[in-house]
Structures are given as C-alpha cells and as structure tokens.
Point group: C4
Chain length 196, copies 4
C-alpha cells in the first residue's frame, strides 16, 4: 500500500509534467505556415523532453515494480527526483524560446543530469533497503548498469560543448534518449522470472 | 500490475489534456454578451476536441481492457499515442484563435489523423503480442474495423478540403466524431462474454 | 473494473478542474495590501467554485459507489457532466475579473445549472440501467430528492435576478452550496446497510 | 473504498498543486546567465514550497494510512486542507515576484499556517471518529505531537517578523520545513506494528 501510493503520486506528477510542456506551444496569432514554422524549435524541444520524461516514467515504473519496500528516505529521494523532473518544462521552454542558444542548451543539459543523479540516489537507497541479495540489487548488478553510468558523462559533455557548438549538444542529448529507448532487458528478465 | 499502471498513467495524461484545453477560454475583459460571443469559435473547437479526446479515452479503455499483456514496444506505442493527443490542445487553440481559417483547419485535421495512426500502431502491436487467437484479435477482426479504417480517409479529405472551403472540413470532423460516438458494440460484446 | 476506471478518470478530471482555478489568482505586481485587496472578488468566486466542484465530487462519489454497472450511455453522460464542470473555471474567472457584473453573474449561474442537469441525466440513466429495485433507485426515491430538484430552480432564479441586482444572485448561489454541504444522509444510510 | 477514493483524489490535487508551481518559472526572453539569475527568488520560493507540499503529502499519507474510516465531516475537513494548500502556488508566486518583500513574506506565512490549522482540524475529526483507543489516537498521543504544535507558533512568529526583517521570516519557514523533513518515527512505528 505504501509503495502503491508512492507510485500513484509519482505517476500523477510525471503525467502533469509531461503534459504541461505542451502549454508552451502557444497558438500563433496568424493562420499561416510561416507563423507555424516559427514554433519549430519549441516543438522539437518538446518532442525531446516528452521522450525523456517518458523514459524516466518507464524506468521508474520497472524499478519500483521490482522493489520490495519504501521508507522515509526513499520517499524523499523520490520527491527529489520529481523535483528535478519538474524543472524540465522550464528548461525546455527556454531552449525552445531561444531557438537553441548556447546557455539555454547548457542549462537544458543540467536539467537532464540532475534527475539522472537523483535517480541514482534513489536506486542506491532502494538497493540498500532491500539488501544486496534482493531481486532489485541483482537486476541492477547483472548488467553493469552501463546506461545509468554513461548518461551523466554524455550529458556533461553536452553541457560543455554547448559553449562551442550547441548542435553537438543537441545530438548528444538525442543520442542518450536513443540509448534509453532500447528497452532495458535486464529488468524485464527479472520481472519475468518473478512472475513465472 | 504492469497493464494497470500503464492504464492509470494514460488516464492521467488524457485527463490533463482534456482539461487544460479550457484554459484557452480566457475570460473577456468586458462583462458584455458581445465579448462572450467573440469566444464562440474557441468554444466550439473546445467542444469538438473534448468529444474527440473522450472518444480516444473510451476506445483506449475498452481496448486495453480486453488486452492480456504489455511490453516495452506497446508502452512506447502508447506514449506515441499520448504525444499525438497532447498536440490537440495546441491545434484546438489555433483553430479557435483563427476563427476557423484554412491552414489551422488543415493542421487540426493533421492532429486528428496522427493519433488515429498511433492508435492503429498500438492496436497492431497489441494483437501481435496477444496472438491471432486472442480475445483482442477476435474482437477487432469480427467487425472489419470499418470505423478505424474510414476515419483516417475522412480526416485526409477534411485536410484537403480546408484549402477550398473550411466549413466542409469542420463538417467532416464532426461526422467522424458522430461515427465514433455510437458505442462500439464489438468490444462490449466480447467483454460481456468474458465477464459471463 | 469498468466502473473503477470511469471513477478514476472522473476523479482526475475533477481534481484538475478544482486546482487550475487557482491559476486565475495571478500574483499582483506590487507587494502591497492594496494590490492584494484588488483580488478579493477573484478569491471569493474561487472559494465558491471550489466548494461547488467539491460538492459535485462528493455526490458523484457517493452515487457511483452505490451503482452496480456502467455502459456506453452512462460513460458519455458522465463525460457530459465533466464537460459542464470544466466550464466552471472559465465562468469563475469571468465573474471574478468583472467584479461581479450582471452578465458574468448570470453566466456563472448557467455554468451551475448545466452540471445540475447533466447530473440528473446521469442519475436517470444509471437508475434505468440498475433497475427500479436497485439500491441506487431506492436511495434516490426514499428522500424525494428535494435538493436535486430545488437547486436548478434556485439557479434559474439567480440567473434572472442577476439582471436586476447581482448580489441577490450571489446569495442564492451561496445558499444552494450550503444546502448541499449538509451531508446527504440518504446515500450514507444505504451505503452503511450494504457494508453491514 | 471510500477512504481509498478520498486518498486518490487528495493525491491528485496535491500532485497538481506541487507541479503547477513550476509554471510560474517563465523562461527568460534572453539567453543569458543574467536573465536566469533574475529568476533566483522565484526558484528559491518554488523549492521551499515544493518541500512544504511534499511534507503535507507525506504526513497526509501516513496519517490516512493508520485511519480506519471516513465520513462526511472528514471529507470536508480534507477539502478544507486541499483548499488551503491550493493557495500556496499563489503566495509562492507573489513571494518570488516581489523578491521577498515584507507583505508577500507575511502572506506566504499565512498560507503555511492555514493548512497547519486545517490539518489539525482533520486530525481531531479523524481521532474523534476512530475513537480514543484507535491506532490513530495512540500514534498521535504517544509523542506529544510537538511538531504539529510548534509549527503554527513558528509560522506566526515568521509572519510578525516579516514587517521588521523578512530574511528572519524566511529562516523560520526553512527551519519548520527542516523539522518536518526528519521522518515522523511515531507513525512509522505504529504502521510497522500493524503490518507485523
């Protein structure tokens, strides 16, 4: 029950975060293709952020499913993750508004790296709570967790490159999204074993 | 549990999409009937979009109920559907703001045809996962699925006609909504059989 | 399951409606009591609408709890109720913005009378579905449903009086809210009997 | 079921409140660090309010979990709490917009003291309903509830000090948040006993 309510609350917050980003796509005042084309940077940054929030929801979902229990520390680590994710609509809007300028590109990368660290913190706390022999610990350990470890490095590279050539940063952000879009076989395997 | 959480998340996103559209109805600055009448195009496009989002929620609801399982591909196909639906508040606002001009009318049609294709993709993936003998496959096959196949054609016609005479497009969009408002007996029959 | 998902979706939409109204309370640009006092009409109309939406949620909740089943017609009657409720944030904002002028006061009354009719339609459909001997039918019949019948009349009176002296309309709207705030003993009694 | 739906609705409203606050962080028009720095007061007030709403969600969650039953009075006391919490996005926005001026700082304190009283009212009603020997009553009594009693006093002090030196008020608001961030061992102990 505790875990269920934490999940339901997190799902609610993530559902709102992923949806309010579209409020930034303000209808143009003129009914022309040109007026629509002006929105392209906002639209593209919305697409990327939608995918990122979707990835977090998906991973959170798999991860929490395997976990056994929650406590106060886990609850606040989860709140920290939700807080970091709640900044994404803001950085997405700034990135789109600026048409992809250097500083908003870097700040967008910061808003990607923050939830990555918050997620790692949550993961660490949950494995400590469930114990080293838990299904959760085995699932994370069995695959070296290379995605979780390489993503922050790629985000950091993206942040640094923003000050030289922002399109390289965008490419890195897209690359990390693609890495995560490939389903996490690890977790699915463990879940399948538990169900069967 | 996996399916339940996917459903709950989808319901949350759809509930937000259907509700934030009303934020576009800004209160007039003057307390007169004339100021209210100016909002008529916005109101009418809101009504139509509310019905469309309601239809998607209803169909999604019936469809997912019959389905047996979800996997990573289905989860992302579902995210794709939610993304397409999330564009409807934007196109609705533009349609209303422009008072039904040609290009916003066509773009609105695009925002109807996109979730239709996303829904077909989701349906195809789910039938492939559940298998050709599943309750889901039988339910879809037993009725030729004429609504699902005719709707994109009617949307496409609406998009094309927008450049000649937008009111014809509006009539087509309303027509498709009416087609779907008739309850899908197919699904209800299968559900009844499963329950009894 | 069908009923549960309908309830969860309705709860989600109502939770969003009741909360987005506060977005209309824009922070003043000056940090003075005078700037805050200007918001008083908006605040008061928010309080009233919050109570109204809360009453609808509460009644919907009791009513659906007693009901046995839902079908396509009930689902769309429920969507109609949610649509009518979704107009309340708009009419509340207009009422507050205008400081309680005649036409916004009347239109606010219309936005109260519409969900009342939608609710009666939903109630009628559900009783027809559950049958005249159902727990639902008995619960509604046993008390003559005087609140449900007197409310639309009082709203209509409020709408008419708005064109002569708006404060009388406000008093009527507050009165109806007070009538409903008294808990509906009928339903609670029937629920208690079912549980025990 | 009654309690579950009340919890789900409350969670939905709280999830929306905690998330819409970020809408106040409008993206700057210029892509510079200076433009971002201007948002610092808004960002800091968002962080504080996010933590406060999180604390309320957390306490509400623990408290309701131990409770046995709900009735009409409890339902409306809960609505009162949600209403008070719904004012926090407004006062947060004003505090941030004003850069921490005296009156917005005091009004922010009022928006913290109001839900504190609403929560105490809800708690009192629930203990009266569950009875003096209930798990809920014991949980609250066993620890003197010093946090619940000291918080309103500290908020009141913060409100008063706002008119002399606002930074002292901010420090007090942060202090109360820190007091609550320490997990409430009382409740967790009682829950553990019930589960085991």
């Amino acid at each position: 029950m505790e875990k269920d309510r934490l999940l339901a609350f997190s799902d609610g917050v993530i559902a709102i975060i992923i949806t309010i980003m579209v409020l930034e796509l303000r209808p143009p005042h003129e009914p022309t293709w040109g007026a629509l084309a002006v929105l392209a940077p906002k639209f593209l940054s919305y697409v990327l952020s939608f995918i990122y929030i979707g990835i977090y929801w998906n991973n959170h979902h798999h991860f929490m499913y395997v976990a056994k229990s929650v406590n106060g520390g886990i609850l606040w680590a989860n709140m920290g993750l939700l807080f970091c994710l709640s900044l994404v609509p803001f950085t997405t809007a700034w990135l789109g508004e600026s048409g992809g300028a250097a500083i908003p590109t870097a700040v967008y990368g910061v808003s990607l790296i923050l939830p990555a660290f918050a997620y790692l913190t949550l993961q660490t706390l949950m494995i400590r709570t469930d114990g080293p022999d838990s299904a959760l610990a085995k699932a994370v350990a069995s695959d070296d967790d290379w995605k979780g470890k390489s993503s922050p490095a790629l985000y950091a590279l993206g942040i640094a490159l923003a000050f030289f050539y922002p399109p390289l940063s965008w490419a890195l952000y897209v690359l990390v999204a693609l890495i995560w879009l490939v389903p996490d076989k690890r977790m699915e395997r463990v879940i399948d074993q538990r169900v069967s």
